[in-house]
């Protein structure tokens, strides 16, 4: 049996409400600049991020709600890794709140979180928590693997479909950080999400 490459869970509605309130009223989101140079020039053809974000490191939270978020994600990461069994440094975790706005057609082009590293530590496990799905557009697509062609005994053809992830409020998905994924442009209603990355030594 193949191991599913996604792991799913849910967080309580109270948590979702707290995070949503924090994004709406308190936190100051800044423009994400992935895929752009400092001068704002678009650097890569197929990767740009027009979302607004707030980022912090685990153990460096600025308030109670950020601590709550970090602690929840820490526990989820430990739980998810019972499935994945990666070598992770659970104390090296980065959290990010994002708003992909309808007004800006918020989107994030194809990318993989593992495509950068920090002082030889790699993003290895990626989380998305759906706080508020967009009403239209703003879909998370992931290129997952391990699809096998039926009726073919000679070769297992590697396929590269991009799977649309159903966004239910409070839904959590974890996947290996080397998978390419993207957020399609938001067409209606702002899309709120919480993402987290757990770091670790190089893939072995």
């Amino acid at each position: 049996m193949l191991k599913p490459n996604f792991w799913k869970d849910v967080v309580p509605q109270d948590f979702v409400n707290d995070v949503k309130r924090y994004i709406d009223s308190e936190v100051e989101l800044v423009k994400a600049h992935a895929g752009y140079s400092k001068s704002g020039e678009k650097r890569f053809r197929d990767c740009s991020n027009t979302g607004k974000i707030k980022i912090w490191n685990f153990h460096e939270e600025s308030n109670e709600i950020e601590r709550t978020i970090s602690n929840i994600m820490y526990k989820l990461a430990v739980k998810a890794n019972n499935h994945f069994r990666f070598d992770l440094d659970h104390n090296f975790m980065i959290l990010q709140l994002a708003n992909f706005e309808e007004a800006k057609g918020g989107h994030f082009g194809w990318h993989a979180d593992d495509h950068i590293n920090f002082e030889q530590k790699h993003r290895k496990l990626s989380f998305s928590v759906f706080i508020q799905p967009a009403e239209k557009g703003g879909e998370l697509l992931i290129q997952n693997g391990w699809e096998i062609l039926p009726n073919n005994k000679e070769i297992y053809l590697p396929y590269l479909p991009s799977q649309k992830i159903e966004e239910d409020v409070g839904g959590v998905i974890a996947f290996p950080s080397y998978y390419n994924h993207c957020i399609t442009p938001v067409e209606k209603g702002d899309r709120y999400s919480l993402v987290a990355w757990i770091f670790g030594p190089e893939w072995r």
Partner: protein, 217 residues
């Protein structure tokens, strides 16, 4: 600390190249592989190229070539044994760079002829399949004879340096075209997406090899 390059490079002797080409041309019983969801006559100038150029990835993965494959330790003749032994040594050498947990005895070889006007392989990742709990972890491409036109290997590489800027926090998908020269070998992690663009002129000959191992840690 510098980032580790995603693609490792080496080369094999001209003799190796000649023997492998001779085997493909004169002896090997190549099988037609055709999982084409596309009509080739339209993809060389049409859908495939547009998908590659636009970075579009929600596509079915079609491929077409002629190939022969075997597992390490299950070779049918001296040429296959020679190829396996060379690749075994290269895999150990490459893994001094990658340091993956590999089972070097679990290796699969494939010789392929990519004919002009019909062959291609859409975006895919070799690591997307596994075999009885073992995973393809390290992928090799050895260029025996490049096509005269088209037939380019493109790879989504990672860990690229972003020069002259502190802005390293930009995850992206880099599409790198690999320069093909006879005898050149490259190795890369099997989770990297890659494709071979349609061969437009001159048959392309290649050897690909996968080294298996336990699940990624």
């Amino acid at each position: 600390m510098p980032l580790k390059p995603t693609v490792w490079e080496d080369e094999v002797s001209q003799n190796f190249v000649n023997e492998a080409i001779k085997y493909i041309e004169e002896e090997a019983d190549l099988k037609d592989i055709d999982y084409a969801p596309y009509d080739y006559s339209t993809i060389a100038v049409g859908k495939f190229q547009r998908d590659v150029e636009s970075g579009k990835r929600d596509v079915e993965c079609g491929m077409k070539c002629k190939k022969i494959g075997w597992n390490f330790h299950e070779e049918s003749n001296d040429t296959e044994i020679m190829i396996s032994n060379t690749m075994y040594k290269l895999a150990i050498k490459a893994n001094n760079h990658f340091r993956f947990i590999l089972n070097h005895n679990r290796m699969t070889m494939q010789l392929a002829r990519w004919d002009e006007g019909e062959s291609y392989f859409h975006w895919h990742a070799d690591g997307h399949v596994n075999f009885e709990g073992e995973n393809r972890k390290l992928a090799f491409s050895l260029f025996l004879k490049p096509a005269e036109k088209g037939g380019h290997l493109l790879i989504n590489t990672i860990n690229q340096f972003i020069e002259n800027t502190e802005d390293v926090k930009s995850p992206s998908v880099f599409v790198e075209t690999i320069e093909e020269a006879p005898g050149k070998v490259i190795a890369f992690p099997a989770y990297c997406n890659h494709c071979v663009t349609p061969v437009e002129k001159g048959n392309r000959y290649s050897l690909v090899v996968w080294i298996f191992g336990p699940e990624w840690k």
